[in-house]
């Protein structure tokens, strides 16, 4: 439709575009600029070229942060997708009981990360927590889930899976509505058992949903921060220092704006790679459903 006046569209878009530019588009450019300076927010900034990037890359620290973040994300995505799909298939049944179980699983997605992280800290606590209590009563030595560098990251991933499985389940349930009953019944008449029906009818039809869940969960878990800040503060021995926490540490604990900005730039580039994938999947999905 023709706008009544040429300036109308821009007046309507103005506030949105201005706010998005100031708070989402321009900050990336500012970070790239700041990353070339050494600045502690107290003394004047000093131009250092790419020294911030070199310092971060030295001793493989940057690579370790990236791989750790990727490792956490892969664990969370694999866990939520497996459990989410399993639960969707299990709970895609009529009746109040199944509706109640669906709501229970999804409720963890709705409550704050703060509540979830604190709850699991207590459950995993070596002294007062129930898991340690059960292990002691069975005569086992309690594992220090958050204090052992080998256990800490997988433990955070388990908490992430508990929190996010509801999301995957809900999206898979929506996807299952697109699998025609008649197709499954036809397969059953042809003698296909439950596994064969799942493998050859349901699964192929769920493929777009699965890639949607995979990419959105990957982006979400790549940005994980709350769970680290509350449960481990990046420890023990940096075993859980994920990307966003590393940025937070650089600016608020080390007061190093340059390093924080350099990390932000690298984080954004990695995120762009993952999110570019997400947008493609999303567009394909929007194209199918409309």
């Amino acid at each position: 439709m023709r706008p009544r006046s040429t300036w109308h569209p821009w007046a309507m878009l103005g506030p949105t575009l201005a706010l998005l530019a100031v708070f989402f588009a321009l900050p990336i450019g500012v970070a790239a600029y700041e990353s070339l300076f050494s600045w502690d927010m107290l003394t004047p900034p000093r131009y250092v070229g790419t020294a911030n990037y070199e310092a971060l890359a030295a001793h493989g620290e940057l690579l370790r942060i990236a791989l750790r973040t990727l490792g956490y994300s892969v664990l969370v995505v694999a866990g939520t997708m497996t459990l989410g799909l399993g639960l969707a298939l299990l709970l895609d049944r009529p009746g109040r009981l199944f509706a109640f179980v669906r709501a229970s699983v999804f409720s963890a997605y709705v409550v704050s990360w703060v509540a979830v992280a604190l709850l699991w800290m207590w459950i995993l606590d070596g002294n007062a927590g129930p898991i340690a209590g059960f292990m002691r009563s069975l005569g086992l030595a309690p594992v220090s889930f958050l204090g052992d560098p080998g256990w800490a990251l997988p433990t955070l991933a388990v908490v992430g899976v508990w929190k996010l499985t509801g999301y995957a389940m809900i999206v898979f349930l929506a996807g299952l509505q697109g699998v025609p009953r008649s197709l499954l019944e036809a397969a059953a008449l042809d003698g296909a058992g439950p596994w064969a029906r799942f493998r050859h009818v349901t699964l192929p039809l769920l493929a777009p949903t699965a890639s949607f869940v995979a990419t959105t969960s990957l982006v979400t878990s790549f940005q994980a921060f709350d769970v680290v800040r509350i449960m481990t503060q990046g420890g023990p021995a940096r075993a859980t220092e994920l990307f966003v926490y590393a940025i937070y540490e650089q600016i608020f604990l080390n007061l190093s704006v340059g390093r924080a900005s350099a990390l932000t730039v690298v984080f954004f580039v990695l995120l762009l790679a993952v999110a570019g994938l997400q947008l493609r999947v999303w567009r394909a999905r929007a194209g199918v459903s409309r």
Binding site: L19, F24, P27, A31, L90, W113, V114, L119
Partner: protein
Amino acid sequence: MRESRSRYVAVLALACVAAAAWLLPYAWMVLTSFKTLPEIVAHPTAPLPEHVDPGAYREVFATLPVARYMGITVFMAAAIALLQIALALPAGYALAKLRFVGRGFAFGTVLACLLVPAQATFVPVFLLFAKVHVVNTMTALVLPFAASALGTFLVRQALVSVPDEMIEAARMDGAGELTIVYRVLAPMLKPTLVSLFLVSFVFHYNDYFWPLVMTTDDHVRTLPLGVALLREQGTGVRWHIVMAGNVVLSLPVLTLFAIAQKHLVRAVSART
């Protein structure tokens, strides 16, 4: 394709295991909040409190200004959600219905911003806010989220399917563009807008990250920050108090979830 009886029993059993895996931690959280600390340490595996003790809640309300934090949090989340809807409606209308030079560029900008999370912008935004002295204000919490790329996108998608004749008829009747957006189109988009409001409200009510990096004092502290502080302060962790704080923090969202479950589920599964 009816399920056999034994299979149905297996399904029921598995469903109960799933319910237990997600509900038992909550249940235990609530029960622990009614215990005393010596009891928790002495019997970590005993589910039920020896006697119901509301002391932990008294302690939470004594250490934290719960009402003030809750007020700040609800105000912030509601302000963000309402501003997002108010701004997304005209922007979505322009992108969906008006033909003008630069529309592709504007839509592209919105889509590009979908890819940028607050976690990638907080360093420059914090520096900007520090320079103009708005750190520790409600502005720092609300303004960056007043425009939502996702909200604009969803409103635009919903408006594409509204017939042009509807808008032309309203124009004939002499309605101004803003009247068309807020009075004619907004009511038609009610399901989308309700979902948008709920998702945004719940997200920002729960948010820990942004209030943490944008506040350094108590001035506009939100409830999630306050509850997280319950664990950090004092010597030794007093789990009954932390769990009571958790209950106070989670109860409003879980209540909202119970009331508006359909909307939230639909919004999350992107079936608007």
